[in-house]
């Protein structure tokens, strides 16, 4: 034995006993330069050391899931910075055409030429905007979904009155007991998870010529960000209480907005819910989030007149859309799924919600 022991490979001993993040120097250097939070990167080296290839994979998946490098953290070539300083323009909102959105001197030159005005909408007409890395990633994933998975769409009207009442009833209790504010979305997550339990095929993905039914029901919730869209998923939502769902959902959404999600929190999704209920949108169709086989789209609630026991009453109606991959799921099954979900949501008192 003439090999020296290297400490980098022995367990780190921090006084409080916690594990220190371990990465090879090149990784630390790059992460510092590009302001990448290494705690989000999974290391595959000996004893979990983060290797350059892990960082590379992280960056690829980040751009694949549409995360954009926050503008204030944008990287730029030194020539670009020099020129921008000279011309007195900010790099913050400039589009970069370099690797991973890096701002190159040509980008600054172009911005200068155009009076650096394509930021606030004024003067955008007739301009050519380079695609950001995030835009490119979304373009790629959505095209992949549309061009490989034949989508079929189903719509149904869901009466929301009972669910809204139920929420009102339990809201103060939950706020007092768990200090959480139950959102209507938490009910949707729970109802979808339970319904997926009944229809496992909606919780599947196509793998070559086989349909793989995912072992866990992880319900993803599309979160809109200023620059794009991200879908963190709630692990095993079918086994969680409403309070747990609410807690996890709050945390995931918060971290989505601060871009602190871990890759596995996004990758694990098996079904997606996309809601535009806060907008004046009656209904819409959603594109599947590959490789998932189903996505639920939820429009706003509207007042509808309905005839009940000979009387005209108003009902809150939300229009639900379901998109499924027709290679895996046929119409009747999709219809039954949507029917079952509707039934669950309209009858929260049946005990499931």
């Amino acid at each position: 034995m003439h090999l020296t022991k290297d400490r980098a490979m022995s367990k780190s001993n921090v006084p409080d006993g916690s594990e220190v993040l371990r990465a090879v120097p090149l990784v630390r250097w790059v992460a510092k330069k590009e302001r990448i939070d290494l705690s989000l990167v999974k290391g595959t080296g000996p004893e979990g050391v983060i290797l350059p290839k892990d960082l590379e994979r992280f960056r690829t998946t980040q751009s694949a899931m549409g995360t954009v490098v926050p503008t204030e953290k944008r990287s730029a070539s030194s020539l670009a910075r020099k020129l921008a300083t000279k011309k007195g323009i900010s790099l913050e909102k400039m589009s970069g055409t370099g690797n991973r959105g890096r701002i190159m001197m040509a980008d600054v030159a172009r911005a200068v030429e155009k009076g650096a005005i394509f930021l606030d909408g004024q003067g955008m007409f007739g301009q050519t905007l380079p695609m950001t890395q995030m835009r490119k990633a979304i373009a790629k994933r959505m095209s992949l979904s549309v061009f490989t998975a034949p989508h079929i769409y189903f719509f149904t009207d869901v009466e929301m009155d009972a669910l809204n009442r139920r929420r009102e009833e339990i809201l103060p209790d939950f706020e007092r007991k768990f200090r959480i504010r139950i959102s209507i979305n938490d009910f949707f997550v729970k109802a979808v998870a339970l319904t997926l339990g009944e229809f496992p095929i909606l919780n599947s993905r196509l793998q070559g010529e086989e349909i793989y039914i995912m072992p866990e029901i992880n319900v993803g919730l599309a979160v809109a960000l200023e620059e794009g869209l991200i879908v963190p998923a709630i692990l095993r939502a079918d086994r969680l209480s409403l309070a747990e769902i609410s807690q996890i959902r709050t945390d995931l959404v918060d971290r989505a907005r601060t871009r602190k999600l871990k890759w596995e929190e996004i990758e694990r999704g098996t079904f997606t819910i996309s809601s535009l209920a806060q907008f004046d949108i009656t209904f819409f169709t959603a594109i599947l989030n590959p490789p998932q086989s189903g996505i639920l789209s939820i429009g706003k609630e509207t007042d509808h007149l309905a005839l009940r026991e000979g009387k005209v009453v108003t009902k809150k109606i939300a229009r639900f859309g379901l998109s499924v991959d027709h290679r895996v799921i046929d119409g009747v099954l999709a219809a039954k799924f949507l029917e079952s979900l509707k039934h669950r949501l309209e009858n929260p008192s049946l005990g499931s919600l």
């Binding site: 034995m1 003439h2 090999l3 020296t4 290297d6 400490r7 980098a8 490979m9 090879v24 120097p25 090149l26 990784v27 250097w29 080296g45 000996p46 050391v49 290797l51 350059p52």
Partner: protein, 326 residues
């Protein structure tokens, strides 16, 4: 091209220098009649006579000191100390005189002296004749340290050493003495401070000296079959050290193993590792690994000696460890 052994290449360099420059002369124990412990100076006494090939008493401090005086007064002595282990007897001469005279006399005196010695284990010569403590001399400002790994380099670097105006430790490796290789007949020099890329590769770098160069080459061929390409860099002179080439290679591969036969603690490999940690850490994709001798005297028992010597097995172990970071 003609092939010579490492010993013959050095012998030829000495012969050519004795012919070219009348200021050159040789001194050492048993270098004349006997031809040197490993026959490096064989035949030179007969050719050049006892004025220029001088057998000395067994007194390293005495004859190294005499050589320093000769060098200061215009000669170009090439002194053989039979084993590097015996330089300890002449340490005052080497460290306090040879290395410092040029500095202490404000550049007015100089010591163009070459001190030859062999190092390395593997010939059963025991704890007092097998050491590789060449790192000692790296610690002394004022000395050049040369570590040739092939016959071609031995001749070219010795020629450069004899031309040098300052003291040079020219260190031969015992296990390389019988090694054969192409050596030009004519006189040629190889510059100091210029490393040689012995093998190109992109996955990891082994900086190796002396016999470790050849051991590394063997190991690199084995791993090439797995698709792992190892770059092997031979510094050839440890002082001056070709930092640029080492950094260039580390920038490319991001993974560094330093292999030198000396004890690892405070050794050549430690110095090169520290240099990279200071100057190129941002390129490292893995911890730096050192391969060298353990902190123990060299054993005489052949079995123990084999276990002691850093060899292919140790290099394989290091490469396997490094592989986890690929």
């Amino acid at each position: 091209m003609r092939e010579l052994t490492y010993v013959q290449a050095i012998n030829e360099a000495l012969k050519q220098n004795l012919e070219r420059d009348e200021r050159v002369f040789l001194m050492g124990e048993d270098i004349g009649k006997y031809g040197g412990i490993y026959q490096v100076t064989a035949g030179l006494l007969d050719k050049f006579g006892p004025q220029r090939v001088i057998d000395t008493p067994i007194s390293e401090s005495g004859f190294v000191g005499a050589a320093i005086g000769a060098a200061m007064t215009g000669m170009r002595p090439v002194v053989e100390v039979m084993f590097i282990d015996f330089t300890t007897c002449a340490m005052d001469m080497i460290v306090n005189q040879m290395a410092k005279i040029h500095y202490m006399f404000g550049g007015k005196g100089k010591v163009p002296l070459v001190l030859r010695a062999n190092l390395g284990a593997g010939r059963g010569t025991g704890a007092q004749h097998s050491q590789s403590f060449h790192a000692f001399f790296l610690h002394i400002p004022g000395l050049f340290v040369v570590v040739p790994s092939t016959p071609h380099e031995a001749k070219g670097l010795l020629n450069t050493a004899i031309l040098n105006e300052n003291p040079v430790l020219f260190l031969e490796h015992k296990k390389l003495l019988p090694l054969t290789g192409n050596v030009p007949e004519e006189y040629y020099t190889i510059p100091f401070g210029k490393a040689d890329f012995k093998r190109m590769g992109g996955d990891m770098t082994i900086v190796a000296t002396h016999a470790m160069v050849h051991r590394s080459l063997n190991v690199a061929e084995m791993f090439a079959k797995e698709g792992i390409e190892i770059e092997i860099l031979d510094p050839r002179t440890l002082k001056p050290l070709d930092k640029e080439s080492i950094i260039e290679s580390v920038k490319k591969t991001g993974r560094l193993i330093v292999a030198d036969e000396g004890p690892v603690t405070c050794g050549v490999a430690s110095e090169i590792s520290a240099m990279i940690a200071e100057e190129a850490i941002e390129y490292l994709r893995a911890p730096i690994l050192r391969v060298g001798s353990p902190d123990a005297p060299v054993p005489t028992s052949p079995l123990l000696e084999k276990a002691y010597i850093p060899d292919e097995d140790d290099l394989i172990q290091a490469v396997n460890k490094m592989k986890a970071f690929l």
